[in-house]
């Protein structure tokens, strides 16, 4: 799989249209997901994803095929998304069906009942973060990137990743304070033996 991916990436850099389409189609859900959580607007997310792939295509010749493509694409999406969103407010609310869908993965009814409200509150709190802070949270928890991968994606030192995540978590903790307290003693509570 790795070798065939590498061959595809090498072919794409040389201009092989079929290879480009295969790679871009494979990466589209991840890039769109990042854009959706960053912009919180399905239409803006599609525009942003389109802009990302267009920019990637324009700079494809300078892409190093020995490196994975997803972090490179996320880096482009991050730069484009953060610049576009800086100073803007969210365009939709949590009532939007797309956002509801992304906040409600398939779980048991019991889990859904317990966690649904919390997820909605987290999504609402995320909307209050700056694009830079929201981006690192999405990269970490939605894209599940490591700190090193996030550093590559946002083109910043790992210390910046750490500080942005810390600041984002601090702000989220403040926004979600009442929720966390309500859950104390519940399923998420920390027992002495379970720190």
């Amino acid at each position: 799989m790795e070798e065939s991916d590498l061959a595809l990436r090498q072919a794409a850099v040389k201009g092989d249209r079929a290879a480009v389409e295969t790679l871009f189609r494979t990466a589209y859900p991840a890039v769109y997901g990042f854009c959706l959580h960053l912009s919180r607007d399905p239409r803006a997310a599609e525009d942003l994803a389109q802009q990302t792939f267009l920019l990637a295509f324009r700079h494809l010749r300078s892409y190093r095929p020995e490196l994975p493509m997803k972090p490179w694409l996320l880096r482009i999406a991050h730069n484009a998304g953060v610049s576009a969103l800086r100073g803007k407010h969210p365009q939709v609310t949590l009532e939007d069906p797309q956002v509801q869908a992304m906040a409600s993965p398939a779980r048991s009814p019991e889990e859904t009942a317990m966690a649904g409200e919390m997820r909605a509150q987290v999504q609402a709190a995320l909307a209050r973060l700056t694009p830079e802070l929201r981006a690192v949270i999405v990269l970490r928890y939605q894209q599940e990137l490591s700190y090193e991968e996030i550093a590559r994606a946002i083109a910043k030192p790992i210390t910046t990743v750490t500080s942005r995540l810390w600041e984002a978590r601090r702000q989220l903790g403040r926004f979600l304070g009442p929720m966390a307290n309500e859950n104390e003693g519940g399923a998420h509570a920390l027992q002495p033996l379970r720190p």
Binding site: G15, R17, V20, F24, R25, Y28, P29, Y32, G33, H37, P42, E46, A49, Q50, F53, L54, F57, R58, H59, R61, Q98, A101, M102, A103, P105, A106, M118, R119, Q121, V122, Q123, I137, V138, R140, Y141, Q142, P157, T159, T160, T162, S163, W166, R169, R170, L172, G173, L176, G177, M179, A180, N183, E184, H188, A189, L190, Q191, P192, L193, R194, P195
Partner: protein, 450 residues
């Protein structure tokens, strides 16, 4: 009463950034500190909430096709400069080298050497850091208030971040209880420490994100002494850096070499920058030094990451040697154990031997613990014989990463560990990452004391 443990510890534990040995110690602390338990609950709850906040994304139908339809037929070709970037860079470097060689004379060589020395310099309490466009503390600053004396030992500030080392003590020599100091820039923006990068016998090191505008102008706000402390900073490369002396002495025990690279002496402390070598030295997790208060661990700094491992060790001012009692290494390996829990008894013997990598340890006996409606098993252990001078101290449990508790014996090895069992009658345990201690001592000269 406020606990003097940083709330950042709770964050580090929840986000998995805390080193294993510190996590073990912190978990012990949590068992007796309600304040830290509350902070840990908050951090853990947030971590859990964030992990559950994102589900599968519904991609609009046809979106990928619409995107592909907008792409031009072929990607544009690279410009001449981009195409030949590597070749041109090599030519440029060669031209500079040629110019230096052509202009070869003793003065030019001396100037070049000075530039190199200033580019790779030693910051007391921080170690070797590039000093391009950086600021350091002109002299230590001491402030007293509320019966506490706070001393800022060193600062290193550049575009990548700010590192500050300080100590705060009460007249009785105890660490005071209070919030961590923070920085304020010219515009009144506050900067809280991202994390403590390590604690030595003479100071706590805090790492901050870079100051937005002027890294050379900052004030430390220390609520523990109720003071705002302007920090006198000078550009790196000044007298403070020149005071660092080259080291060079080393000691080798069981294939691990510890070398003192540089030594910085001030009126009340000596700081040694130490590198570790040898194949086993590459995996050192921390060094153990004999101090006035017993054995002091010096963890391998997480910032800056370095290879070979480098440590900055601060000792009393009259020290003429560095004496490392033990190095602690994390090795590869894993092992398993299966335990049948007999019904109707709260204590039973095990007598099992577990092989983990090259090492063995023994599960001696177990006690069933009932606490707060939860049942857990406390298993008493002891380590097997040393291998190549290394003795097994600890390991990690893969299945109970956040649900296990450990008790350390005085020699640093595990005395017992405790895992939740619920109503289970069988328990399977997987142990990984054996952490071993190699006892020295490594005794390395620091040069003559003043």
């Amino acid at each position: 009463m406020r606990c003097n443990r940083s709330a950042l510890d709770a964050e580090r534990l929840a986000t998995g950034l805390m080193e294993q040995h510190r996590a073990t110690e912190y978990q012990q602390h949590l068992m007796s500190c309600e304040e830290c338990q509350a902070a840990a609950v908050q951090s853990r709850t947030l971590e859990d909430a964030l992990r559950q906040a994102f589900g599968p994304v519904v991609v609009p139908a046809g979106a990928a096709n619409r995107m592909l339809a907008t792409l031009p037929p072929n990607p544009p070709a690279l410009s001449f400069l981009r195409r030949h970037y590597r070749g041109l860079s090599t030519l440029a470097v060669a031209a500079v080298v040629a110019a230096v060689v052509t202009a070869f004379n003793p003065a030019a060589v001396s100037a070049l050497a000075t530039t190199v020395r200033q580019a790779i310099s030693f910051i007391p309490g921080i170690g070797i850091r590039a000093t391009d466009d950086a600021f350091v503390l002109a002299q230590p600053v001491t402030v007293s208030g509320n019966g506490v004396t706070l001393r800022v030992i060193s600062v290193f500030a550049d575009r990548n971040g700010t590192t500050l080392t300080y100590e705060a003590v009460t007249p009785s020599g105890q660490e005071p209880v209070g919030p961590q100091p923070y920085l304020v820039d010219d515009h009144g923006r506050r900067y809280f420490a991202q994390y403590s990068a390590g604690v030595s016998t003479h100071g706590t090191m805090l790492v901050f994100k870079p100051l937005a505008k002027r890294p050379g102008s900052m004030t430390l706000v220390a609520e523990v002494v109720s003071a705002r402390v302007p920090l006198p900073l000078v550009r790196a490369g000044g007298a403070g850096l020149a005071s660092a002396q080259p080291g060079g002495a080393d000691a080798t025990v069981l294939g691990i070499t510890l070398r003192v690279d540089q030594v910085f002496r001030s009126s009340d402390a000596v700081t040694a920058h130490v590198s570790a070598y040898g194949s086993r030295g590459m995996n050192i997790a921390y060094l153990v030094i004999a101090g006035n208060d017993g054995l002091q661990p010096f963890p391998r700094p997480i910032y800056p990451a370095s290879s070979p491992p480098q440590f900055d060790i601060t000792l009393p001012a009259d020290s003429s040697v560095l004496r490392v009692e033990r190095v602690v290494i994390e090795e590869a390996g894993n092992g398993t154990a299966h335990i049948a829990i007999p019904a109707g008894t709260d204590s039973f013997s095990l007598g099992q031997q577990v092989q983990i990598g090259r090492y063995t340890f023994f599960l001696d006996r177990a006690e069933v613990m009932h606490r707060g409606g939860e049942t857990s098993l406390r298993i008493f252990v002891h380590s097997g014989p040393a291998r190549d001078g290394a003795r097994l101290l600890s390991w990690r449990l893969t299945d109970f990463r956040s649900g296990a508790a450990f008790k350390l014996a005085t020699d640093g090895s595990y005395e017992w560990f405790e895992v939740p069992t619920g109503a289970a009658s069988q328990l399977s345990l997987t142990f990984v990452s054996p952490t071993v201690g190699i006892d020295g001592p490594w005794v390395v000269s620091l040069g003559s004391a003043p």
